[in-house]
Symmetry: C2
Subunit: 143 residues, 2 copies
DNA sequence: CTGAATTACTTAACATGTTTAGCAAAATGA
DNA sequence: TCATTTTGCTAAACATGTTAAGTAATTCAG
């Protein structure tokens, strides 16, 4: 028998994510960015010059998705790309002045949303949730 | 400053979901079904005749997505649809014999995967995670 | 009863998720 | 060194996510 939807882990994860991302998406749409574009932009700013494979890892995206996102961000002139001199398979991605400005204009509201979530839930439970999610991510389900 | 990715709630939710759904997707692809198609099929079987709005609610899908999914499931003859006699805006969705067979063929392995996750994580922590996710889902972030 | 909401979907458009294939550069090994 | 494999990324195809419009049926206010 199927568990009630609130006891189904996949659906509970889906709903929780939607609850958290809804307000963030609303904020970012005002800046003309999607959630994923925002994530990539922030990774690039925080890390400095970085290649797509590492971006994908940090932003939790698959490379085919990232390819399209980088193309969009480059069109919008929020990032720049060039080939790596040492290894010409690779690219070096950098944030532009415009990209940095977009982050500066939205970062406070974004962090405020997460802080509000944390406060409403209670810091201890919020941290406990993060711990459990990370634990779940590290489980080996293969055997 | 951006939290490390494992302390970012949106990314932690993303990774956890991917970890849980990966094996389930692999199982279902053998049956020619996507994760969402499977979710819809199960909701319809468990509920009996049901309209799309309720399916969307239970399966945690938006109506535009559900419209396409129902079309695919109808093509595959796993569900049937007809207009509601009382309210002709509505539809009544039913599972077909073929749909019931697909569920019967895959339900055991599907439940087994979730049970394995639960066991590896420990039943108590698993339940605690579900509780925290549901709590997060019920937070009012508007104010 | 009738025109203005409202409801239950459907369609369309754009972005991402997911899988598979492809290509060029670099590393490997006989 | 040269064929093979691996790596880093891109392209394509199909499915879903998300938002905005559109349509037909129903409800509601006046």
């Amino acid at each position: 028998m199927m568990p009630a939807t609130d006891r189904s882990l996949p659906i509970a994860l889906l709903r929780a994510r939607e609850r958290v991302m809804g307000p963030i998406r609303a904020l970012l749409s005002g800046a003309g960015l999607t959630e994923q574009q925002w994530r990539v932009l922030r990774v690039v700013q925080e890390s400095g010059p970085i290649d797509p494979t590492q971006i994908a890892d940090k932003a939790c995206l698959l490379l085919p998705s990232l390819t399209r996102i980088l193309q969009k961000l480059e069109e919008k002139q929020l990032i720049s790309r060039e080939r790596d001199r040492q290894d010409r398979r690779r690219q070096v991605v950098r944030i532009t002045t415009g990209g940095a400005r977009v982050i500066a204009d939205n970062i406070d509201a974004s962090l405020e949303l997460m802080n509000r979530t944390r406060a409403k839930m209670g810091p201890e439970r919020y941290e406990a949730l993060l711990d459990l999610l990370n634990e779940l991510d590290q489980i080996d389900l293969s055997g």
